[in-house]
Amino acid sequence: MSRWNWNPAPTVDADHAAERPEGAAVSGVPAAARVAIAMSGGLDSSVVAALYAEQGRPAIGLSMLLWDAVQTPRNGRCCGALDLGDARVVAEQVGIPHYTLRLDEEFRQRVVDPFVRDYLEGRTPSPCVRCNTFVKFDLLLERAAALGAAKVATGHYARIVPGDGSRRGELELHRARDLSKDQSYFLFELDQQQLAAVEFPLGELTKTEVRALAARAGLVVAGKGESMEVCFVGSGVREFVEQQVRLRPELAASAAGEGAEPANEGAEVSTRDGRVLGRAEPYYRYTVGQRRGLGIAAPEPLYVLGVEPRANRVVVGGREDLLAEGLLGERLHWIGSDLEAATRDEVTVRIRSRHEGVAARVRPLGDGRVAVRFASPQSAVAPGQAAVFYRGSRVLGGCWIERAARGAELAAGAASWGVG
């Protein structure tokens, strides 16, 4: 048995599948056993397809056309039509049927528009989380179920493991074995139902192993690079935002508030105590923690501390001014039912995807709002990013950052906070 036989799912009917004649449709196999593989045309999901085909699991490949490639011509990224073409070739290569679902309108509503609005409202968006929550593990699950697929497998680097003790029957989401590739941060909004319907076969593998598998299977995508940036954005995020606003002015109108237009002229750059340092580009070109592009000469490097759309103001300061003792969050989400443990003890919180994590205490405030107090001050707490809570490798849940908070705010009116 090779070491990537990670966790054969109970629904596998490998014997049955192996019996089917070469090239025959998988019609003879009970529909419940079929797995839909979400294929982007990239290396990772291609390797998933190769693995399942090799194991004889009845599978189909599904690709999503999420963004009109004609509108934003791109190469070698997940949204491009070229990549989807690769998905078809790989599916053919490993011998599974492949279909493309057009979900671009839904993707625009659920991911792209909120992304643009976030910028216009001074936040730093996390489109990949939204895409997972509302497209891949929502719409795609729905569509796959309609096609008779019992589960959806993706090339995400994360692990799903059964809970123990009182949470027997529940599922836990964990970081990938290969921490350098771990994508669990982007999956924090999944719930039990979603976890039960998906498989992450790459979670136990390292990227090196995945590359080796691709090469061994002779996949046409074996030499492909990584897609690191936001898949639907072309050359520059700011240019993209402006282009979208030009195409759909209503996006800007709702962001700027009743009857207002978002400021298009250069933003005022000022310090926290109101000292105006000059003018920069429009506010939505800046995000919290940004250092470059301010165009203001100062003895010490200046960082963006805050973006104020209504005032068209960018507040700047020194590196130490970026530090915050905690954050206030909204739309709190827990993956498991053991929330008490999560709030009683310290957890590790990551406040952006590349954040190494810091010990913190989480205190729900009701109505989905939450206060998070770091064990030590953290730099660049950016509104719009996700704060994801971990215990060890396990993802407990998370929230969306409303704003950075001072220690006094976090303690206010909270007698039990930090005591005991």
Partner: protein, 376 residues
């Protein structure tokens, strides 16, 4: 045709013996194509596809006429023409041509009167001298409806417009007589009637000249430069000869299958609607809508069950969008996305049709159940 890929590989323009043999084979194929269309061999130009032929006519006419006339050339195209016609027309528009689209009526046909109204308008705007080309397919590819080409041809003559008839869907399934059609250009593609992929022919009425799309060679009487694809041409000729011989039998067989299919669908599946059944259609095409079902999902389920059916239009990635043809008939986007195209082929049997009807019933019901589960 296989021998022309191997042992008898030769360039028909070569003067040696094997070249002459290749030339003879090409010319025999030309006669076979001409015979199927009741045309003269010298009017037939071999091309690589129906799309090439459509492009050649539109681009050729525009490039030939644009510089000569006072008013810019004009195109009248049915709105549900093949993409090769629509895109070539769009390109012509960027080069100064005036392009008018005529939608079909709800019976799935373009009305001759609608075309004539546009022709009158174009003449009124551009004078009698401008060159005008009308494009009307003989049979629509999605719903199979036969278009009133002869009637439109008569109106074209009256207004001194040329008529391009894309007959790719129809040739080999219904009789096509170029004289009776009255068009000036007729396009066919081999793979639609069991000929080779990548084969096609353009019939050009004697006396009409257009600027060739491909220049730089004297092949095809200087109407299409480039070494002939002898194997494809020979295969196309054979397909035409067989079609001419078997046309009636084929049409009978296909009609019988379709009658069984359509009766079966209506009798056994609730919530399905057939499109344009009261209009004369190709014998093999059925357009059917399954209420409350996404046709692409039905297509996938059928594919997995071993049946190949189609939806309206698919892009190169395989994604599906609402068919403009169906929208033009007055269907809503949701209805268009619920529509399947089913084509019976010559090798199909009555048993296969029955099995397909059963599978459609089973899979559409499963889909409705799955969708209801999600909604609840």
């Amino acid at each position: 045709m296989n021998v022309w890929l191997g042992a008898r590989h030769a360039n028909p323009s070569s003067l040696h013996a094997s070249g002459r043999a290749a030339r003879a084979a090409v010319e025999q194929a030309r006669r076979q194509v001409a015979d199927l269309l009741a045309a003269r061999p010298e009017e037939v130009v071999f091309v690589g596809s129906g799309s090439e032929a459509n492009n050649a006519v539109i681009a050729g006419l525009i490039s030939g006429e644009a510089s000569r006339r006072s008013a810019p050339p004009a195109l009248v195209v049915a709105s549900f023409e093949h993409p090769s016609v629509l895109a070539a027309a769009e390109r012509a528009a960027t080069q100064g041509a005036e392009v008018v689209r005529v939608p079909p009526r709800s019976d799935g046909r373009v009305a001759a009167a609608d075309v004539e109204a546009e022709l009158a308008g174009l003449r009124a705007r551009g004078g009698a001298e401008r060159s005008v080309l009308v494009a009307l397919m003989l049979a629509n590819n999605e719903i199979g409806t036969l278009q009133p080409v002869a009637e439109v041809a008569e109106r074209c003559r009256r207004h001194r417009a040329l008529l391009l008839c894309d007959a790719v869907q129809a040739v080999g399934k219904v009789p096509v007589d170029v004289a009776a059609l009255g068009a000036d250009f007729v396009v066919l593609g081999g793979h639609k009637f069991h000929g080779p992929l990548g084969s096609g022919a353009l019939w050009i009425r004697s006396g009409i000249e257009i600027e060739p799309l491909l220049v730089g060679g004297s092949q095809e009487r200087r109407r299409r430069a480039g070494t002939e694809n002898v194997p494809a041409i020979v295969g196309l000729g054979v397909a035409c000869a067989l079609a001419a011989e078997e046309l009636d039998d084929r049409a009978d067989h296909l009609s019988r299958l379709r009658r069984r299919l359509e009766r079966g669908l209506l009798a056994s599946i609730e919530g399905c609607t057939l499109h344009c059944t009261d209009t004369p259609r190709l014998p093999n095409t059925t357009s059917v809508r399954f209420h409350g079902v996404r046709a692409q999902e039905l297509l996938i389920r059928l594919d997995l069950a071993g049946f190949a059916v189609s939806t309206g239009s698919a892009c190169s990635s395989g994604a599906v969008e609402a068919s403009p043809t169906l929208l033009a008939l007055g269907l809503s986007e949701e209805e268009a996305l619920a529509t399947l195209r089913i084509s019976c082929g010559l090798p199909n049997t009555v048993d296969e049709v029955d099995a397909l009807v059963a599978a459609l019933g089973r899979e559409s019901e499963a889909l409705r159940r799955a969708t209801a589960r999600v909604a609840s």
